[in-house]
Point group: C2
Chain length 349, copies 2
DNA sequence: TTGTAAGCGTTATCAC
DNA sequence: GTGATAACGCTTACAA
């Protein structure tokens, strides 16, 4: 009589009138006499038995659980990334321990501690602390940050994305380009967007300017810059590449409120591929990150874990899509693009 | 010599020169001689030891892990809800197994199976399958669906929210009100928004109309209705309550493209409290759900689990906030409200 | 107080 | 092929 509510292998063995080992063999796909197998399966079914992965893990050192460390869930980029990662893991029978750190280094440490207690088979992390990731004693894969050559890192091809943005703006007739960048100071793969953009400008002999703001608190310098280059509703640049879609949207708002028309006067491209929750359309013309592939790659690397000799950084190809803030593709209608209500793909909310 | 990389209690005991039980007692806060305690702590520190929660759980029947079953992560409402829930659980030392079902009943079943294997101390679920939730043999708390009187359910006060929307529209001068509802057919707490709205209209003797669309695929009937009530850019109603912010945004887009001005001609209120990812402002005037409190309540109920005699449904108070689509508060600037770039609260992206 | 040993649910190694 | 039985890392009587 196990006092717990959940039936155990022992219960199944007793019910089926076989030995414990036999039950185990059935559930692990080892050869078992046909008649025995049936008795075991019937008993298990009857008792509604499920093998306990953690008890099993005690022996096998596998919990079929991976930890996911992410800075935010409120931002659509991270939310979508987490969505793809949990889905990818689920497909392989893994559960995901999701931990949100809100960009707080102390929280990141706490999460690592917690995760070391509840054993996981690996960790996928987008953190701001190189130390944690390197010291961890389980396999780790990072997103967007290459902390150590031994720790595989997955990201989009940020450099190429920057190039594409510049090339596309040129192709659409822009002559004076501007790159706007806001974000934390930490060294990240995402910082290759600017250099990619610059390379394309140089290569094509295009006039351009770059503005980097290293700040997590305020992007006021950005708007000061915009203001200075604004003369009677005329803007000094006719093409802007912003390092994120979020920044792109805010810049668009600012310009439009100052009489500059997007995309007629200025064309703008963002980065990420954020989609408007209500309409299902991209919030601006953008370089979209291949989230699905990034997730699959990260999970592959984590679980195969023959991670030694391989290259350690994987930059996956991005794509450009028009989103109403450039002169190609759909016409602009603010944040909502060319929303057609009769063919919308909303989701019950 | 444990062949695993991770140190075990045995290793700590050997290193400290004490018995196994002593180490255990130290880590469980039981009285231990000062000198012993110090030796154990030093040894643990030196070996970087962490207690294995799952091995511990084998004895104690607690894993400090709860399962979270949610239909989506791409929608900001669910993302925010999950964010609050994981945060609340984390504060109490619990890890969260997040599972996303994409509104798929089969996936919901699979997730339940998986979660039964990796034992959890409880489940918080927003599902479309009453059966799963009722049969589960761990504590369950549901969000927005009351499937069974024994299973606690947490939601916002939807009825009151509906009343508030109607009352606010009246207060702002509306005379002909309209309620628009889109969503799945399943019986849910969210369906009390309409009745609340209706009650307020009746009580105040206001002219009103209700349109319920039970469909998860298309909201075309909504737009057909709008079209029929649209005459030369004049709309038959001057106040609309939509059952979600998403629907509100789409309705606004539709009306504006047909020459109706919001909020000048028609004032619109949504439900949920969705915030624009780029600007940090509400996407429309709305009834906001108390996500933080809902999460805390759900976690409380799940973990205290003295859930028997108590009432089983918890409807938490909502609040109204202006968001530019009504004539109160900030002026409307499309989806972006009165965004002030120099005081923005963006988050690095 | 501290040490010892049984047992949690499972796997894996033995003899049979 | 099947049934005992020792481990896995930990908690918890019970004995010392």
């Amino acid at each position: 009589m196990s006092r717990s509510l959940q039936p155990t292998m022992k219960d199944v063995a007793r019910e089926a009138g076989v030995a414990l080992g036999t039950v185990s063999r059935v559930f692990n796909g080892f050869p078992v006499g046909e008649e025995y197998r049936e008795r075991v399966e019937a008993a298990a079914e009857k008792l509604n038995y499920r093998v306990n992965n953690y008890a099993r893990g005690l022996k096998t050192n596998k919990t079929f659980c991976v930890g996911l460390l992410m800075p935010s869930l409120r931002h659509p980029f991270f939310a979508s990334l987490i969505d793809e990662l949990t889905a990818s893991l689920m497909r392989r029978g893994y559960l995901t321990n999701v931990m949100i750190t809100n960009f707080d280094p102390d929280a990141e440490l706490k999460c690592f501690r917690l995760i070391e207690q509840n054993k996981v088979d690996g960790i996928i992390a987008l953190t701001y602390r190189p130390d944690l990731v390197v010291e961890a004693d389980v396999p780790v894969v990072t997103i967007d940050r290459q902390f150590h050559p031994d720790i595989p890192c997955v990201s989009s091809d940020n450099f190429r994305g920057g190039q594409m943005a510049a090339e596309k703006l040129l192709e659409l007739g822009c002559r004076r380009l501007l790159f706007l960048r806001i974000g934390p100071e930490i060294q990240s793969e995402a910082d290759r967007r600017g250099p990619g953009f610059e390379e394309a400008c140089r290569r094509t002999g295009t006039e351009y300017e770059l503005l980097y703001v290293n700040d997590e608190e305020t992007e006021a310098p950005i708007y000061r810059f915009l203001m200075e280059h604004l003369h009677d509703s005329r803007f000094d640049f006719d093409g802007i590449f912003c390092n994120t879609d979020g920044l792109a949207r805010r810049v668009i708002n600012y310009l439009e409120r100052n009489g500059v028309r997007v995309p007629d006067d200025v064309q703008i491209i963002g980065y990420d591929g954020i989609i408007n929750f209500a309409t299902g359309f991209y919030v601006c013309s953008t370089i979209v990150q291949p989230l699905r592939r990034m997730a699959e790659t990260a999970v592959d690397l984590l679980l195969s874990s023959e991670s030694s000799t391989h290259e350690s950084i994987f930059r996956l190809p991005v794509t450009y899509v028009p989103g109403g803030t450039t002169k190609d593709g759909p016409a602009a209608v603010g944040d909502s693009s060319v929303y057609d209500p009769f063919h919308s793909d909303f989701r019950g909310r």
